[in-house]
Symmetry: C2
Subunit: 331 residues, 2 copies
């Protein structure tokens, strides 16, 4: 099976690409978003994201307002990863006639809440009929010229940081899969999967103050996304398993769940959809991070290396290759 | 069943809309595209369009290169309708694993050809797995500030024009439905359905020289789209059946087809997907149209009226209401 990365490369090779195109394009296919320079005091950052019934969510298990909320939130996460301020979005919505009533109302309520929290307005879209619910969202954000954070700026010696605790969304998904989506007692544990928080302020701060040398959002799991950042920057990385901030599974919840796939460290290394930020900072700049929004939730987990391998240092000090085991829709 | 218009209104009401938003938005939900003013020497025009297996095309009957070509062409048609010059696009592609091989190659070849003809470059996108092929495209175009053509500018007394002959795409669709998609003898008749020509130059000329007062593209049939233009402009229209330029069905072809639905005048009034331009011009400006690109293919078909009805004048001079009988995915 062809992984998604190869598919994207195939598409990029086949089409006339903005990369070679007019000077107004600063960044084309391959990063979290594209960057356009209309020539004024701002650059525009654009990205699109798809959210599909049967692949990313299930109508039977996911509350419709969470589908609307998350569809927009995850699209905006690509803007946060570039350091851009969210401004506008276009909504493409294909859905069966049976979903036009109460389901759509709740979906739109969730999306409205996300839009208000993220400060983004709808400016257009397209609707059509389909068998399954299909959501595609294009987001536009603004950033000062040349300040966009990319995946390709990491350099050997940079310290690697993540925001938040990793694996929380995967734990939420495991709870949903086991039929606990509406369990009010588990609400706090479900929230990262159903209503992910997006690090817009942190991304914007890192870009504005030129603190981060590279950044991306963690959508497909640390082991997969770190490999992408390193590939784009032509570097390697060494991370310490002990330092990766992991989800905490309360004992009462652990008893409810089968043990399979629920090692917190495995969830943190490979679990997808956290939408936290992964970024690198030169050692000289590192102390400034204490002034970042949500500074307490930022953790150094390792270093960028010249050697292009991804190394995981186990708690006992042994080094091993970090294999990408995150989410790939085509795997 | 709720028609698409009501669905769009429901969505627009539910979400924070750019319409009330920051001053940089010139035009939000409801026209062919949104218009943003980044403050420089150009406005950005944005639109998205969906092209879905089982709704807009069938994998068994439509050549894959035509699916790629048309998906991009129809999206660009929204830019042409605003008078914008196509520049960039983002491609969202969801497809089954079985379509990643030769089908995708041919799809991308068709899209590449459309992109080169239309002068537009890919700058990003998203891919995922799905059961059916789903294409969503966001296009960006440029236009001089405040020159974008809208649906809402028509005034009583304006002359109504269309480009090209109408009903050609519907005739092509009828041929495809009857199994003639690969019939080389019918190539010229199939082309408007499989590889629609987009009126980018005409739209751009009408906007640049401030000739048109209102415009849109004919995607869902004249009777449906004229009603939309009149509703947006709060006017009515009177059109003359005799003047509407209709597809010509060669006698040899007519014999091959059942007669049902194939009255050229009906195809011209209600057939969808012609992607020709519908626009209005004040009588004082009308003579300038002789200098338009493709001027010979522009035809006056009636007038905008203060009375908000849509009237069709039959060849015998009798007047009747023009009912919208075009394409609506939710009807």
């Amino acid at each position: 099976m062809m992984p998604e990365r190869q598919l994207v490369e195939k598409i990029a090779r086949a089409l006339p690409s903005g990369r070679r195109g007019p000077s107004r394009l600063r960044l084309g296919i391959g990063d979290d978003a594209a960057v356009l320079s209309p020539g004024g005091r701002t650059d525009w950052v654009l990205s699109c994201d798809t959210f599909l019934e049967g692949v990313h969510f299930r109508v039977k298990t996911h509350p419709p307002d969470s589908v609307g909320y998350k569809a927009l939130a995850r699209a905006v996460s690509d803007l946060a990863a570039m350091g851009a301020t969210p401004r506008f979005f276009l909504l493409t919505l294909a859905l069966p006639s049976s979903r036009i009533g109460p389901w759509l109302d709740a979906f739109l309520q969730g999306m409205d809440r996300a839009a208000r929290e993220l400060g983004i307005s709808a400016i257009g879209g397209d609707t059509t009929r389909s068998r399954a619910v299909f959501v595609s969202i294009t987001v536009l954000g603004e950033i000062a010229p040349s300040r966009a954070l990319t995946r390709s700026g990491a350099r050997p010696g940079d310290i690697i940081y993540v925001s938040g605790k990793l694996g929380r969304a995967q734990l939420g998904l495991e709870l949903v899969r086991r039929g606990h989506a509406s369990n009010r007692q588990l609400r706090a544990l479900l929230q990262p999967h159903l209503y992910p928080r997006i690090r817009v302020e942190l991304g914007s701060w890192l870009a504005r103050h030129r603190i981060a040398r590279s950044a991306m959002d963690l959508s497909d799991g640390l082991s997969t996304d770190l490999a992408r950042l390193c590939a784009a920057s032509k570097v390697g990385a060494k991370i310490y398993a002990r330092r990766v901030p992991s989800v905490v599974i309360p004992a009462a919840v652990a008893r409810k769940l089968s043990k399979r796939n629920l090692d917190p460290r495995q969830l943190a290394l490979h679990g997808g959809e956290d939408y936290e930020l992964l970024f690198t900072v030169s050692p000289r700049q590192a102390k400034k991070l204490s002034r970042a929004p949500g500074a307490a939730a930022i953790t150094p987990i390792g270093k960028i290396t010249r050697n292009r391998h991804l190394i995981l240092v186990a708690p006992d000090g042994r080094e091993q290759r970090l294999q990408s085991q995150g989410w790939d829709p085509f795997r």
